[in-house]
Symmetry: C2
Subunit: 194 residues, 2 copies
């Protein structure tokens, strides 16, 4: 951020009075420009003993498998956003049923909010951001081609819960050194996951 979006004057990075973190402050109109982490919303769309997965048609991780998810829009609820992303990426109509995981990704300034949902009918297909969309049983999940650790962790919890016949809700963090794909660390509250 270089300029004030209200008045076009240059901004400076400084700690405003009564605050304790540096912010972009306009030198002319004194507007403080706060920035905050973004929410990514998505879901695990369920159909009988399968879930719907999407193969990415966009970077990052082109060609890898994921769950429908994307940035929450202004004035949208996380529940609406999760259903919208499922429509857009998998051309599927889902009823969101439960909150499943809330996972912080502080390095990239995102908070993932993933729900469970039920497909209203067995109808789906690749949206613009997907190469392919497929119903997967646990044994069909392409575990070595999952796009992101947050998806991998959510799916591992999900199938463990399904085997034991009881679903929880999990909150935790995935942290990793910059650019070290394999070296990420996972920590859930109360020792859930692994």
């Amino acid at each position: 951020m270089n300029y004030c979006s209200a008045c076009a004057a240059p901004v400076e990075l400084r700690i405003p009075e009564g605050d304790n973190l540096p912010r972009h402050v306009c030198g002319s109109c004194n507007t403080i420009h706060y920035t905050n982490p973004k929410i990514v919303v998505g879901c695990i769309p369920e159909w009988q003993d399968t879930i719907l997965m999407c193969r990415r048609a966009i970077e990052p991780r082109y060609g890898f498998w994921t769950l429908p998810a994307g940035f929450l829009e202004d004035h949208e609820t996380t529940i609406e956003g999760a259903a919208r992303e499922t429509r857009e990426e998998a051309l599927a109509d889902v009823e969101i049923s439960e909150l499943y995981t809330l996972i912080n990704l502080p390095q990239i300034n995102q908070v993932y909010v993933m729900f469970r949902g039920s497909l209203r009918e067995r109808q789906f297909g690749p949206g613009e951001e997907s190469l392919e969309v497929r119903l997967c049983r646990e044994e069909d999940v392409p575990w070595d081609q999952i796009a992101f650790p947050v998806v991998d962790q959510t799916l591992k919890l999900y199938f463990r819960d399904r085997r034991r016949g009881r679903f929880g809700t999990y909150a935790g963090d995935i942290t990793r050194p910059a650019d070290k794909w394999k070296d990420y660390q996972v920590r859930f509250l109360n020792g859930a996951g692994g």
Copy 2:
């Protein structure tokens, strides 16, 4: 938003190619300026059969009672943010234990993420944004002086769960017509709450 924060040229509101919502787009450098809902994080700080509540020293709702909560900062996890807000507003050291409520407030473009937490010691006091901080049993909660519906709903679920001896995790929406304080509607997934 009037001007581009990257280059100071005027922005226009239009739907970028391949998108389906209007965004602020720079007429000069073509930067798309996305905006998104903000996350508010907080907790219910527990001490034996009481919880810690704060009386607000700031607007909105000066003088009304709330739980420690505030905007999540860049590169902070929701768990860290909830503990930080408790330190700042109640001068108390809390260990975050479980995710409790995720509540969408689409009218004001916020998502509240509230945890349960345990005070590490019986020590607290009013931070700069609080007039007063107090340990409350259920019967001590000033129900007619609660600052926000999201706090009221979270506390109602909490004491119901505590009475029945089992805590869940709840996701839902609070919606209301602009400026109609009393007319809000509450809807949780799976019919939780009330």
